[in-house]
Symmetry: C2
């Protein structure tokens, strides 16, 4: 029942100390979603054993280079490896133009279809939905149009206990109501639902919020989620610099996690000025205890 994110890059705009720019892979029940794709993402994927062909949907938060410059190279490698499967890209519409001009001048026709889904940085929208999950944009507050992404599993129906279905001779027509949680009327005696069913796994959720000013308007969407990645470009002594550049401090990331009552906080997008990150971690932890540094190569689950 996998629901976990692997960090491929945690650096902000200027990579340093061998940290790479933003990229992470979310694995939900062995479906892999690539979130942002900074320069070097394909090499990081190889390093951390994430197969290119497992990626079918890529989400780009905004068009600052440290969030998308690895995409063209990854798309080329998928092409050279013989991919024929559709690739879905969720991004600002201008990204399509950036990719197309590069394909044109390299005289490359991709062997696989690319389907662009344009994000709207003015209004949160559901951009993907199937029977397992929904993916919504989160409106962030950055220097250029920028969206985060919220991945939510759907609540699953309860599972029937086969022996009980037989014991009470439950007809097929009653099963739907029971799976959705209702008790069962057996010859006038109410049988409690939890005697006939067990719970399926809990619906889990993950929000990716980079890059942004501290902005509580996102609370409406992220409150109560299991795991939040929030950018933390600076320590709080540089709050003014954070505000000028539309970024967040580690203290503010911790405050956001507390207000949103999330289960776990990951912080990343570290400025090149920080060689060691413990100060950042301590600062965020002082606001929200269950905080983790989004170190490259590490995997975090909602458990």
């Amino acid at each position: 029942m996998t629901f976990e994110v692997t960090i491929l890059g945690s650096s902000s705009a200027s990579p340093s100390y061998q940290r790479h720019p933003s990229a992470q892979v979310l694995n939900i029940l062995e479906r892999f979603f690539l979130i942002d794709c900074g320069e070097g993402t394909q090499i990081q994927m190889e390093r951390y054993k994430i197969k290119y062909h497992r990626i079918n949907r890529i989400f780009i938060s905004h068009l600052h280079g440290d969030h998308y410059l690895g995409l063209m190279g990854l798309m080329s490698t998928m092409h050279l490896q013989g991919r024929t499967k559709e690739l879905h890209i969720y991004a600002a519409k201008e990204l399509e133009e950036i990719i197309d001009i590069q394909l044109k001048y390299s005289q490359t026709t991709l062997r696989y279809p690319v389907i662009y889904h344009y994000t709207n940085a003015e209004k949160s929208e559901v951009i993907f939905e199937d029977d397992q999950l929904t993916i919504e944009t989160i409106i962030l507050n950055h220097r250029i149009p920028c969206t985060g992404f919220l991945f939510k599993e759907k609540r699953k129906p309860r599972k029937l206990i086969r022996e009980m279905v037989e014991k009470y001779n439950i007809p097929v027509s009653a099963l739907h109501a029971i799976k959705s949680g209702e008790d069962y009327n057996f010859n006038g005696k109410m049988i409690p639902n939890n005697e006939i069913t067990i719970q399926s796994h809990t619906a889990r959720s993950y929000a990716y919020c980079s890059d942004t000013l501290y902005d509580e308007r996102i609370l409406e969407q992220i409150t109560g989620i299991d795991m939040l990645y929030h950018e933390s470009t600076f320590t709080h002594d540089l709050i003014e610099r954070a505000m000028e550049t539309f970024h967040t401090t580690s203290k503010q990331a911790g405050m956001m996690a507390t207000k949103a009552k999330v289960g776990k906080l990951l912080i990343g997008h570290f400025s090149a000025r920080y060689k060691e990150l413990n100060t950042m971690l301590k600062e965020a932890e002082s606001e929200f205890k269950n905080t983790w540094l989004a170190i490259e190569g590490e995997t975090f689950s909602t458990e």
Copy 2:
């Protein structure tokens, strides 16, 4: 009297085994020239301690992504680090459009001037010249327009031996001819030039040839140079694949070095199919003994 090249990337189009796409830095007397700039070049520069601000001229062979996709990120980092110095880029003219569209959508105005020098893939030209060196394009034979680059130091005038200038009481008017190698007529007696002068350092040369079919038309330019980098994407059993894709085999790279009577051969641009590279090396060495693998992080000089 430095004249050496440091390899930052040696992979062909799909990076693998943690090899990076093409990039190298040529250091001529502490002037640094970046040749090709594949994805991840800025991280490789940081790894091998090459300062971004030392790079003033960048040479891009062609517009396949594995040769230029690191440029936008490097240019952004130079901007963020406060660069104000001019940056010169030698490349196909379409690269300017690719860079400009990305600057536009990231709403970035670089703090430093970028000066594009368009290369012509039809005709070899001197694209840079000063009192120390000339840089020429080499016309390569690839699927899309592609040029190599030939860096040649100028022959230096011979150095005067001060004691001899005094001994023979040589007038200033005669110095120019003596420095260019002429003997000196001292009261009717010819003084041999090598008694009055010593040789300056030899003019050194380096050619970068990637990507290309094996094509002997380049011999005219590269014959007798000190050091040749020639692509070697495949081993010779894959000669047909090499020809289909406009690449060269390691055996052919060795043949080219022998025909061109170069001092030293570096081979690189290794296909993702080769985990270990000794077979390639042996194959090239069987044609040209002084062959070296362009391993990332290694530095090669003309000596």
